[in-house]
Amino acid sequence: MSAAIETPAGAAAPVQKPGKAPPVLSGGWPLLGHLQELRRRPIELFARVRAECGEIGELNFAGSRVVLLTGEAAQEAFFRGTDEQLDQAAAYPFMTPIFGRGVLFDATPEQRRQGLRNQSLRDSFMRGHAEVIAAETRRMMSGLADSGELDLLDFFSELTIYTSSACLIGKEFREELTPEYFRVFYDLEKGTDAIAYVNPNLPLAPFRRRDRARRRLVELLTAVFERRAKQPSEKRELFDVLLSLKLPDGSPRFSVDQVTGMFISMMFAGHHTTSGTAAWTLIELLRNPEFGAGVVAELDSLYADGSDVSYQALREIPELEGAIKEALRLHPPLILLMRKVMYDFHYGEWTVPAGKLVAVSPSLSNRMPEHFPEPDRYDPDRYKEGREEDAKLFAWIPFGAGRHRCVGAAFAMMQLKAIFSTLLREYEFELAQPPTSYKNDHSKMVVQLAKPCRARYRRRAR
């Protein structure tokens, strides 16, 4: 298996004597290893590694060997690894059928570094984005009555499909989107069953729904692009440009299928993550009403002078920011970050040979009691001056860390501030279920809020 892996030319691997092999976690089944435990109780599985093996321990996902690093020092070694040594590409087999071939992960690390310079995430664009997000939130609110009940997953999923497409792709493109898009994305996100480690194309219901959703998305986008080709607009947006590119023989450079893949990859990173965090922020504020009241009072007072969301969302909103960060700490949208080892990875007295995967778990790290006192308690005051528990760069890792830290982190924080600045000044919310009934569904690698997840809303008296 490791025979095909070579050290990249020119980048000589540091010569180091191989160390010990990391301990293997108990309880693996024949063939499947720990896969079933991963699909049922992933966070308990990761905690078992730390309890049983210490800061390094090996898991088996149906033949893929995954070495989990835990604790601040081991995690720092993971996050400081170079692209040449620790590669993201091969680590997520469950994503390939979603993005399609030739989209995100087929490029070299250097090409990816170039591609990652998404100009639309630059700081200078943020004010325009904040304005768009506030407007999209108002549009979603215009679909609400004076009082009623809503599904938090559906509400925030739909909203973030519109905000992400408007900010990252283009405002005209956003106008083409309907609620069907967020339902299609739901099926794509649900298609990330870890059984993909056996084979991502097994004839199973989640994979069939995933493939049907992707085909439907190609259909929907084909119709959009045909319509735009017939009625050329003054404004050429990203996809218009991509589709107009030609090869030397005159044939199109990118097919609609490939552009669909780019659309999915651009939207994916910012969709379930932001929508889940919005839902958890609201749930936690309703479960902890003393903090909920503090956030509403903060927003009322900040906006009392009539200042605009596009101005304020870029500035400090300490109570709200603490509430969002604490929702992220307790409910990180990604529970396992992985890299493929391209040449031997040494940590302390251990060596992970090329071909295996190394991993870090934000869910486990964000609740390490040595860094986060009373780790299971929702306490937005952790981020106030003097405590600043998010300053532990390699322990507080809802966005990851190091050079692959989420490039959209600042955009996501601004987006959540803009959404709640708009929503909480207009409506008040109430849990419609017992407080402990809100849970994440961990049966898929892409974490989603489990249904039912309902809340009641009422327009605030003004």
Binding site: F79, R80, R113, L116, R117, L121, R122, D123, S124, A391, L393, A401, G402, R403, R405, V407, A409, A410
Partner: protein, 65 residues
């Protein structure tokens, strides 16, 4: 005061350049921060502190002499 950069962390968001353009730039080739003045004048302290604080990857540190 002296500016320290953790080059492993910089992603080229250019927030530092927005906050303190006299002190920071972003190299278009490497897409990484360039510290134009390693020991900036005391008069720039406020904007340098903002750059350090708002760096999305916390790649900057301010050290006192």
């Amino acid at each position: 005061m002296k500016i320290r950069v953790d080059a492993d962390l910089c992603q080229g968001h250019a927030v530092c350049r927005e906050e303190a353009p006299r002190v920071f730039d972003v190299d278009p080739g490497t897409n990484r921060v360039v510290v134009k003045v390693e020991r900036p004048d005391e008069s720039l302290r406020a904007e340098v502190k903002r750059a350090v604080k708002y760096c999305p990857t916390r790649a900057l540190r301010l050290e006192e002499d």
